[in-house]
């Protein structure tokens, strides 16, 4: 990542990819990239962090990097990852953003399988993503210092600017996704909804594996008469508070599946964010935090459906804990 900082600072369009321990190893530099406003794009193949040594999929790597100040998106299948990659560059390089963008991809389930996708032509890419014009770069003829010391009397101001930029990038994310949808017919949103119109219970997922298994579970539960829908979080940072509040207000219960655990903390990271978004609001739903699919553990749709039914029943009886790790042998 340090090499990418140098490359991007000289004015090159920069891409890299990492995963799990690799992401953990570059943790220090990730903050530097975003604070220096370098529009690097990185694909992160989400896998568990050791120990015990585990090379399989979960979200513990990205969830330990929530606060790095990057735009963070999730692609839920091969087609989405393909389509979102040029979108990431377009978001990152927009003069209103100028921040790095991370595209998260479920480890193994997406990174190590083959699936058919529709491709774009070179012309499509060229039309959608114009040549890169860096806003600022290292140039011997016009010397500047990038990434200098920021003493106490300016550090707070730099953080405020960074936060404002990341929050405001939300508008550009929507614009770029809409533009992509108009051109190529595949539309993406910061928050995706499935069967939510009449639902009083919502399944809330992040990442492809639980997202797509969740669809099957929702179909099964609907067939059994439960009025359930599903919400998939695509944009993790900046957290889309407005969409989340609009979608979740007035529902009875939300079952949040997290593929990471804040050990000794409040449970799943996505559930925590949802609770923060809904706190103190009238008509907030009951938020049930489930931790599943850690370190590559498969969760089948039938198990998910059972876990959801079980959680909703126990919440109705008022005995659901702050969070629960499901599918654990005890």
């Amino acid at each position: 990542m340090s090499a990418c900082v140098g490359l991007s600072a000289t004015g090159c369009r920069t891409f890299t990819a990492t995963s799990s321990q690799g992401l953990a190893l570059m943790h220090e530099i990730l903050f530097i990239v975003s604070a220096m406003r370098l529009p690097i794009v990185m694909a992160t193949v989400n896998r568990a962090l050791s120990a015990p040594i585990n090379i399989w999929g979960d979200l513990s790597d990205v969830m330990a990097n929530r606060d790095i100040g990057w735009v963070q998106l999730f692609g839920n299948n091969g087609q989405e990852v393909y389509d979102l990659t040029p979108c990431c560059f377009k978001i990152a390089e927009d003069r209103r953003v100028l921040l790095p963008v991370m595209l998260n991809i479920d480890g193994f389930t997406l990174s190590h399988v083959v699936e058919p996708i529709e491709t774009l032509t070179q012309q499509d890419f060229d039309d959608f993503l114009p040549p890169y014009e860096p806003a600022q770069r290292l140039d011997v003829n016009q010397p500047i210092s990038m990434g200098p010391v920021g003493p106490p009397d300016i550090f707070t101001e730099t953080k405020k600017v960074h936060d404002d930029a990341l929050v405001a990038s939300r508008i550009v994310v929507n614009e770029v996704l809409d533009d992509f949808g108009r051109r190529f017919g595949r539309s993406y949103r910061a928050v995706e909804e499935y069967q939510t119109d009449d639902a009083d219970v919502l399944l809330f997922t992040i990442g492809g594996t639980l997202g797509e298994t969740g669809h099957t579970a929702v179909d099964a539960l609907r067939a059994r008469g439960m009025k359930i829908g599903q919400v998939l979080l695509r944009l993790w940072r900046p957290f889309p508070f407005d969409d989340i509040r609009r979608i979740f207000t007035g529902r009875k219960a939300v079952i949040v599946y997290d593929r990471a655990l804040s050990v000794g903390g409040p449970g799943g990271p996505v559930a925590s964010e949802l609770r923060a978004a809904m706190y103190g609001r009238p008509d907030a739903p009951a938020i049930l935090s489930l931790i599943a699919a850690l370190g590559g553990r498969d969760v089948r749709a039938v198990e998910m459906a059972e876990q959801i039914e079980n959680a909703v029943r126990r919440a109705g009886e008022g005995e659901y804990p702050a969070y629960e790790m499901v599918g654990v042998r005890e």
Binding site: S145, P148, I154
Partner: protein, 104 residues
């Protein structure tokens, strides 16, 4: 830095756009105590110069030259002396005393 920039005045990524502007940043502003040197006690041995971590001991003309003694002594550079007190600790004649900035 005398004028502190607001969020609107910071360059992108807090970059510094003016080459060589570090010259304008005087780290002496971090100092709480300054090393007051009594030129009459200074034997110009240069030990303070050797020990000063900021290269801030400077050869200075004596105001009251002493016959038979070198015409220079070592004083401090207020722009970069950070007031660590090492020179005062090391001076063999006790010529340096640390005085609080702004003390009456």
């Amino acid at each position: 830095m005398n004028v502190k920039p607001s969020t609107r005045e910071l360059a992108l990524g807090a970059a510094i756009l003016t080459p060589g502007s570090a010259r304008e940043y005087h780290t002496g502003g971090w100092r709480t105590f300054y090393p007051k040197t009594d030129e009459a006690l200074c034997i110009t041995c240069g030990l303070c110069w050797i020990f000063c971590p900021d290269a801030c001991r400077v050869i200075t003309k004596r105001e009251n030259p002493i016959p038979g003694v070198l015409p220079d002594y070592y004083d401090f550079n207020p722009d970069y002396c950070k007031g660590c007190g090492i020179c005062a600790q090391e001076c063999p004649t006790g010529a340096i005393r640390m005085i609080e900035e702004g003390a009456p």
